[in-house]
């Protein structure tokens, strides 16, 4: 785990709650004060602060912040302050509901990068919040092969052992190869392999594929579809990239987020907020290697104000 956030040695939740109250009361809001506290607390600590705040002021800190803050900063703080499983549930729901251009990759990230227990926690949090199961909503908003792939990935409870069956990896790499070669892209087998095998096993399968075919499976999928099964093969590629090397995947998301004309704040916020306490440091290093520019610099160039200050704090900037 390579967390980037900087946490003081001693933390008092009551003091924090009081300081936050001072930051939001009155006419204006002291955003810097909010950042200086919340940006330096772990997930567990943030939950304690919420409790303390509620004890002291009979108010939900989250709701208060929602009303006091605005824009990208508010979205970022809202996601940050939620418990990780709850956060993922919210992200998934927002992504699914986007009618025009549904964000499959958000759901794919959650399904493929979280550990089986974490994914389970997300499913529970989703039920608690929305009174429906995650898979129900995914199924209701998708059709065809995309639906099959997403529901399978979201409901998986993969075995977590590290053992690899080399013979099986080879044979399933062959199945994947045949499936992609076929004009029909035999989705059933592909979905089966990608969504049920343990992570160690499926990665071994992808490695076998690369060894046998001389090219990575994701590159092969890129070459295949002009428009045939585009949505499906796109989603499949994302899933495979998430399973294979999540840090590389996130580096690309970040790179695209800052590169675009007009930054993709949603993506930027999502990656930084969800990975800050996990492996953001590794992602930063990878980003630097790939782009010769520190991630903080790219973020600073493309964002401004409190939103920028908050992201930089989560990236590890000390006050």
């Amino acid at each position: 785990m390579t967390s980037t956030i900087v946490v003081p040695d001693h933390v008092s939740f009551v003091d924090d709650a009081e300081a936050l109250q001072r930051a939001v009361q009155g006419w204006g809001t002291n955003e810097k004060g909010i950042i200086s506290i919340l940006g330096h607390r772990t997930a567990a600590q943030r939950q304690h602060i919420r409790l303390a705040y509620h004890e002291l002021y009979q108010e939900d800190l989250v709701k208060r912040l929602e009303s006091e803050l605005s824009g990208d900063f508010e979205k970022a703080v809202y996601r940050w302050i939620l418990d990780p499983a709850d956060r993922d549930a919210v992200l998934a729901n927002v992504a699914i509901k986007k009618l025009v251009n549904p964000d499959y990759h958000v759901v794919l990230e959650i399904a493929c990068i979280r550990s089986p227990e974490e994914l389970l926690a997300v499913r529970r949090a989703y039920q608690a919040r929305y009174k429906r199961s995650l898979e129900e909503d995914v199924a209701a908003h998708t059709t065809g092969d995309i639906r099959k792939l997403l529901v399978a990935l979201v409901t998986a409870f993969r075995y977590t052992g590290e053992e690899i069956n080399a013979r099986l990896a080879k044979s399933e790499a062959g199945i994947l190869h045949d499936a992609i070669k076929d004009k029909e892209l035999n989705h059933e087998e592909v979905i089966r392999i990608v969504s049920t095998r343990s992570k160690a096993q499926v990665m071994a399968t992808f490695n076998c594929y690369r060894d046998d075919q001389g090219t990575s499976i994701t590159k092969k999928l890129l070459g295949e579809g002009d428009d045939h099964g585009t949505e499906f093969s796109k989603a499949l590629r994302t899933a495979i990239r998430c399973l294979n090397d999540s840090k590389k995947y996130f580096e690309k998301v970040l790179r695209n987020a800052v590169k675009r004309v007009g930054t993709d704040e949603d993506a930027l916020t999502r990656v930084i907020v969800t990975r800050a306490e996990k492996d953001l440091k590794d992602i930063k290093e990878y980003y630097y290697k790939r782009n010769s520019v520190p991630l903080e610099q790219a973020v600073a160039k493309d964002t401004s104000g409190d939103y920028k200050a908050f992201l930089l704090t989560l990236l590890g900037k000390e006050d």
Binding site: E136, T143, K148, T155, F157, Y159, G161, S195, T196
Partner: protein
Amino acid sequence: MYHESDDLFSLKLHYCLQVLSSELTHRKKKMANGSEALIKAFSGIGIDEKAIVSLLGESHPEDRQNFRKGCRDFFIEDERSFERWDDHRVKLLKHEFMRFKNAAVLRAMHPWERDARLIKEALIKGPQSYGVIVEVACTRSSDELLGARKAYHSLFDHSIEEDVASNVDSSERKLLVALVSAYRYEGPKVKDDTAKSEAKKLAHAIKNVDKKNLVEDEEVISILSTRSKPHLKAVYKHYKEICGKNIDEDLTADLIVLVAVHCLCIPQTYFCKILDASLTNNADKKVKKGLTRVIVTQADRNMKEINEQYQKLYGVSLSQKIEVTANGNYKDLLLTLISRGK
């Protein structure tokens, strides 16, 4: 020369002969009764251990000879003048002796391990046992099914969905994988219009069954594997209102879908049907196993409702039926488990 003692002697002789004859008859009858009782002790579901101890234990060689000669089902007359056990019958007896042991072991097991092993066994046995996979996936609570999935990891080093997906190569695969992967919402909230429209979707799929198998129909799979149970019960109700009959009657050709619908919407009826089938004479070996499975897994959960439903459906109490059909320790264990629901 006539002596008075001659009459006395013949009287005595006559008397002795009568006693001897009735003794022999009595003896023959006892042996015959003993044979009948022994056959009974070896028949039915489970073995009557006590009866066997006393009958076989106290028997003379001639009694056992009579038993063997009188029981053509169990013994074959060999050309070399002896009666030999029928091998197939011995094999069947092995299963009957094991029934108590299996029930006891299953009962002592953690419910998660129990369900994981039931699924594994069904996968190994093949398509005729896939109904058990559906039963476990659909009648357990969300957390119980989850527990089974965890236990499966520990026991078999694979996930359930992985093994189901790679072992089932028939058209039922997708539905089975989807059912074992579910983590259904368990609250009471149901959107009635959605339930109604999904009942219509099911009706539509059933109508078009010659174009697309129900088990492979995306909508059917989605509805059955992602919706909550209260929601599905509402769908069941709406189907009846829309089509004028219960969805079961339209599913007779799609066994797995039928089992899923039963387990999700009318589980008590489902369990009663399994129990009744297992208590029928000459039931198939697999069908008989349903007796242990259902009673052991439901004893702490729905036994009361199952007892009531059984009485309602078949007009006789479950315990009565078991009293008549099962034997020995196995019978006693089952009756004890059932009485928890009274």
